[in-house]
């Protein structure tokens, strides 16, 4: 909105600074963070009072060491701060912004319904069924796949690379690996279901999701900025996507949201993200990486998510068909805290370190190719 105002109000040349992507990105980052601080307390209070928490029924087993009773569904805080900041700082005439917001809406609602069911039954196993969650994910994947394949609305149009929409890129190679044509539909579905669930699986310890997500947004933001800037993209030999730099603004806004949420979520947590937050972050990461066609970069930068997800799936298959465990415990963080009895804060910080290393490695592919 401020971008629009700066364009319409002509009397003040100083306002022109608000039209630059970099300034808006940084302002967005700060706004999102400050909004989280301001809105955090009242929202946590609201969540607690509306019953999004679990509480032991039996006071004899009341444990002073357990985190039970912490309000959940903190994803609402992320959603509100993100939306407010987007309306303030992003260019709303850009279609990509609306697609990202659509993914926020769909995945956030899905997670909300899941959390709601859990809170209602007071049982973590009584959430929404997998099939129920899968249907919207598949539909959104099909939607993205169609956009890429048929290039509706020129969202996947690049002036420097024909057929950008159905190209599949891998790191370290400049040219697209191959053109997927209608396979983009299948790819979209797998990507949509896979990444959002992978991020969802990772959530489980205080701050375990927000910081790796922060690094993923950072990496994707850099790529969005490169691909949306005609000079830099030419220099680094990336396809130029007009208007993609708006995604960099979004990424930095989400970075602010993640940090703001971490303010309250850091160990020991005052609020949990819940499926509402984790599915939404997963959905947004997935959408932005797909819009830029930098899926492989997300796989590297978000390697933690993929690792957690794959280990859980493999473990589950082994439990079901072989009657044994392959790993001590899955997802991996649970193995560390429950089986190796490592302190939670330690596990979380180590995950942060690994994810920063992965982010550095992902950024390396910017030039090394």
């Amino acid at each position: 909105m401020l971008n629009f105002l700066a364009h319409t109000i002509t009397g003040f040349p100083a306002l022109h600074v608000l039209t630059y992507t970099t300034t808006r990105a940084i302002f967005g980052f700060i706004t999102a963070f400050l909004l989280s601080l301001i809105l955090g307390r009242p929202i946590i209070k609201r969540l607690f009072l509306s019953g999004f928490r679990d509480y032991p029924r039996d006071f004899a087993n009341f444990s002073s060491g357990s985190k039970r009773g912490t309000p959940t569904m903190g994803g609402v805080l992320i959603a509100i701060t993100a939306l407010l900041s987007i309306f303030l700082w992003a260019d709303l005439s850009e279609m990509r912004v609306w697609i990202v917001m659509l993914s926020m809406l769909i995945f956030g609602t899905l997670g909300y319904l899941d959390d709601y069911a859990k809170a209602k039954h007071k049982d973590a196993d009584q959430g929404a069924s997998r099939i129920f969650k899968m249907i919207p994910q598949i539909l959104f994947g099909l939607f993205l796949g169609t956009l890429a394949w048929k290039n509706y609305g020129n969202i996947f149009f690049s002036t420097t690379l024909t057929g950008f929409g159905d190209s599949i890129f891998i790191p370290f190679i400049k040219e697209p690996l191959f053109h997927g044509s209608f396979f983009m539909l299948l790819f979209g579905v797998v990507w949509s279901g896979g990444i959002s669930n992978a991020v969802n699986y990772t959530d489980g310890l205080d701050g375990l999701l927000s910081v790796p997500a922060f690094f993923c947004f950072l990496v994707l933001g850099v790529f969005a900025f490169v691909m949306g800037n005609s000079v830099i993209s030419e220099y680094l030999i990336y396809p130029f996507l007009s208007g993609a730099e708006e995604l960099a603004v979004l990424c930095s806004i989400f970075m602010g949201c993640c940090l703001g949420f971490l303010w309250f979520n850091s160990f020991p947590a005052e609020v949990f993200m819940g499926d509402c937050g984790s599915l939404m972050i997963g959905g947004v990461l997935m959408t932005i990486s797909f819009l830029l066609h930098q899926e492989a970069i997300l796989i590297i930068a978000g390697g933690i998510f993929i690792f957690q997800f794959m280990s859980s799936i493999i473990q589950e298959l082994f439990l079901k068909y072989r009657g044994r465990r392959l790993f001590r415990s899955a997802p991996f963080h649970e193995g560390l805290t429950k089986s190796y009895k490592m302190a939670e804060a330690k596990v979380v910080v180590r995950f942060w370190i690994v994810s920063s290393m992965l982010a550095a490695f992902a950024l390396l592919t910017l030039k090394l190719r």
């Binding site: 006071f59 004899a60 009341f62 444990s63 002073s64 060491g65 069924s129 997998r130 099939i131 020991p268 072989r322 009657g323 044994r324 465990r325 190796y340 009895k341 490592m342 302190a343 939670e344 804060a345 330690k346």
Partner: protein
């Protein structure tokens, strides 16, 4: 009056259809003009039974039978979900078209589409049908459980069924008019007349055995096996309904009985064919009921209600079925009331080819003892006939009238006999296991142990990954030493799933039995390919050895028998063997295997320098749990007098890495809240503790009392106990001691002596505290 429309649903098996038909007959009497609909699944029992039962209605075109698509199975399966969704749409169309006034459902997956559709349509006020459910079994089926939310009334058949209080109505099992009539006739018919008709001597002891229309393999084989025992009594006569083979059924009862009888012939008395008859189908079963002294039957609600209607003593052999133990729960209700006796069928878990069977000797002896005790039989019969109400179907019809507003007052129903809650049957294995761990194995009554053993046998013989494993855990949790051979077999059985092998060792650990066979099994288990199994085997060995070889402060209440002494001696001779095997595991890459191996070695090895060397190698192990175990090992070595405390302190202080990343958090605010919650129980606990410590009992008595207290109370940590105790002043101690001396059973003289001694002690104590 407007024509009433009544819709019935439920089926899949005959047991769900018959009550519906019975209710429909009585409703027909109340509303002679009513329209009837039945919704079922094609190809199931209702397809043939409903047209037969509603012949007249069909001929007057007042009834119709509809089919919807439905299937059993988990709703998570997409195929099931799709089928149910189709059925749901069909049901919506059916309901919107016919708009029934009342929907009566007897449960089963067949009724799912109609119930869900009706629940939804009622909520959005598209239809205003009343919904009445009827549960035939003593345990509420899954479908009924889900549908209780939408229902107006839930009628049920067995006392003690768990249903929401405001909706439940105890009516009984609705029986068809013709059968009610017949049972009344039978009651009128004298035993002698019936026997004359059937050609059975008047003084005979007559048994009627049958397993339903298709026959039951367990009953057929059980009877044949028990024949030598039963027919040894010259007065016993038996009528055996073997059941008819249905098209497509795998089991042919008649042929099976024929073959087995031919094999058994030699061991039977010569006149056996006069006293034992078998038929594939008994068309005049009423006569047999009238003549019978004892019935042997299955535990289906229908068979049981027939037994009750006729007021005969019965031995029931419920079908073993893990999906909720329907038959067993039904039969248990009557057994607890005293109406019948149960013989549980079991399956040999160690032989995968075996089928369900019963112990023929137990069965034969039980039947004979009942036959020879006419008073008991008479008593059982009276209790049984009290459980039967011929007006059940009418009551259901009255409930329907009440729902429709044609009856202003609710019909008066029978009072149900209240039964205490069942602790074992009808519960999941996991909940039983956690109950056993919580309350201890001694909390089971002999009756409950019998039921638990039945559950264990059935679960252990299942093919799935999970159930045999849980059975092993349950054997351990309940200390069922009579089933130790199952555990020992499963532990080394490579055909079983890895989870089963692992849980077998968990069971062994909890069982607490140690002998050469157990140790041998554990040593073999140490070379299992699955890491969790090896770890559990070692852990079992460690805790068994620790319990039996290391003497600690709990040791003095251990019961020492000759057997345990000889067992320990035998293990002592295996010592070098065990040490050699376990030493190899000490350098395992799995941390938990390594730590348990160290634990075992510190119990067994007598040479301190060499065990110390092994422990030392792990002083810097990256996993702190290994290092925690090392501290425990030193404690064990100290208890074995191999090392002094001073030495241990030196070692742990100087060479041992003490920092670790294991850390427990504690919310300070929550612990404050906790103290408020637990104030009452804490106070009680410390009061008890104080009364023990300050009492004038001997030291040994005090110790035993303290130990039992420590075992039962897990709320407080030692530190908290000490804190609480410290808050009592010395003055408290003296007044307490005085009171306990006054109230003790000593003579006056002794009391005075004791009191004066206490006074002396008090003054000196006060002086000391002053000088401090």
């Amino acid at each position: 009056m407007k024509r009433k429309k009544i819709l019935f649903t439920g089926g899949g098996t005959g047991g769900h259809v018959t009550p519906n038909l019975a209710i429909s007959q009585s409703i027909q009497k109340v509303y002679p003009e009513a329209m009837f609909y039945y919704v079922g699944k094609k190809g199931k029992a209702e397809e043939s039974m409903v047209p037969k039962g509603w012949k007249n209605l069909f001929s007057e075109s007042r009834a119709s039978l509809h089919f919807v698509s439905t299937t059993s199975g988990s709703i998570k399966n997409p195929k099931v979900l799709l089928t149910l969704f189709l059925g749901f749409l069909q049901a919506v169309i059916l309901l919107m078209r016919h708009r029934p006034h009342v929907i009566i459902a007897s449960g089963g997956y067949v009724s799912a589409p109609i119930l869900f559709a009706a629940g939804l349509l009622r909520k959005i006020r598209f239809i205003s049908s009343k919904i009445m459910l009827h549960e035939a079994n003593a345990e509420v089926g899954k479908m009924i459980q889900m549908a209780i939310r939408f229902a107006d009334i839930v009628a049920y058949s067995f006392p003690g069924t768990k249903i929401d209080k405001t909706k439940k109505r105890f009516v009984g099992y609705p029986v068809r008019e013709s059968i009610v009539q017949k049972s009344l006739e039978i009651k009128g018919q004298s035993k002698d007349a019936a026997r004359e008709k059937l050609g059975i001597p008047a003084n005979a002891k007559f048994i009627l055995a049958f397993g339903g229309s298709q026959g039951a393999r367990t009953i057929n084989r059980g009877i044949i096996e028990a024949l030598p025992i039963l027919l040894a009594d010259p007065d016993v006569h038996i009528m055996h309904g073997t059941g008819k083979k249905l098209v497509g059924a795998a089991y042919d009862g008649y042929q099976d009985v024929q073959q087995r009888l031919a094999q058994k012939k030699e061991s039977l008395p010569s006149d056996f064919d006069k006293r034992y008859t078998y038929k594939d189908f008994m068309d005049n079963i009423g006569d047999y009921y009238a003549a019978a002294d004892l019935v042997v039957c299955r535990g289906g609600a229908g068979s049981l209600v027939e037994v009750c209607a006729n007021g005969i003593a019965a031995v029931c052999i419920p079908k073993a079925d893990l999906a909720g133990d329907h038959q067993a729960v039904n039969a248990r209700v009557l057994e607890r009331l005293g109406a019948i006796n149960i013989i549980f069928e079991s399956k040999d878990p160690l032989d995968p080819a075996s089928v369900e069977n019963i112990n023929a000797t137990d069965f034969g002896n039980l039947v004979l003892s009942l036959l020879n005790d006419p008073e008991k039989r008479a008593e059982m019969g009276t209790i049984a006939s009290k459980q039967y109400d011929p007006t059940t179907a009418q009551k259901c019809a009255q409930l329907v009238q009440y729902l429709l507003g044609d009856l202003l007052q609710e019909p008066e129903l029978r009072e149900e006999t209240s039964l205490p809650e069942e602790a074992i049957l009808g519960k999941g294995l996991l909940s039983i296991i956690s109950m056993l761990h919580k309350k201890g194995a001694d909390s089971l009554t002999p009756e409950q142990r019998r039921l638990a053993l039945y559950k264990i046998d059935i679960a252990a013989s299942q093919k799935s990954f999970v159930l045999p494993a849980r059975a092993c855990r349950m054997i351990g949790a309940g200390k069922f030493t009579e089933r130790i051979d199952i555990v020992l077999n499963f532990a080394l059985n490579k055909q079983k799933s890895p989870f089963t092998r692992r849980d077998a060792f968990v069971g062994l650990r909890h069982l607490g039995v140690i002998n050469t066979e157990v140790v041998q099994t554990i040593l073999e288990g140490c070379s299992d390919p699955y890491f969790e199994t090896v770890n559990e085997a070692l852990y079992a060995l460690f805790s068994l050895l620790k319990e039996n070889l290391v003497l600690d402060r709990f040791s003095h209440d251990r019961s020492i028998t000759d057997e345990s002494v000889s067992n320990i001696k035998a293990i002592d001779s295996m010592k070098s063997n065990i040490i050699a095997r376990v030493k190899k595991l000490c350098s395992s890459s799995e941390f938990d295997i390594r730590m348990n191996a160290l634990g075992v070695l510190s119990i067994l090895m007598d040479d301190f320098p060499s065990i110390n060397e092994l422990l030392k190698q792990n002083f810097f192990h990256p996993n702190w749990q290994v290092r925690k175990k090392i501290v425990e090992c030193y404690d064990i070595l100290y208890q074995r007098n191999l090392v002094t405390l001073k030495e241990i302190q030196d070692i742990l202080k100087n060479d041992f890495l003490q920092t670790s990343n294991g850390f427990d958090m504690d919310f300070l605010l929550k612990s404050e809240i906790k103290t408020i919650f637990q104030k009452e129980s804490n106070r009680k606990f410390t009061d008890e503790l104080r009364s023990i410590i300050f009492s004038s009992q001997t030291k040994k008595d005090k110790e035993t009392r303290l130990i039992t207290m420590e075992k039962t109370n897990s709320l407080l940590t030692t530190k908290e106990i000490v804190d609480q105790l410290l808050s009592y002043t010395p003055a408290d101690f003296f007044t307490h001691r005085q009171e306990s001396i006054q109230s003790s059973s000593m003579t006056e003289e002794e009391k005075e002596q004791e009191l004066s001694r206490l006074l002396k002690y008090q003054t000196s104590h006060l002086e000391i505290s002053k000088s401090k």
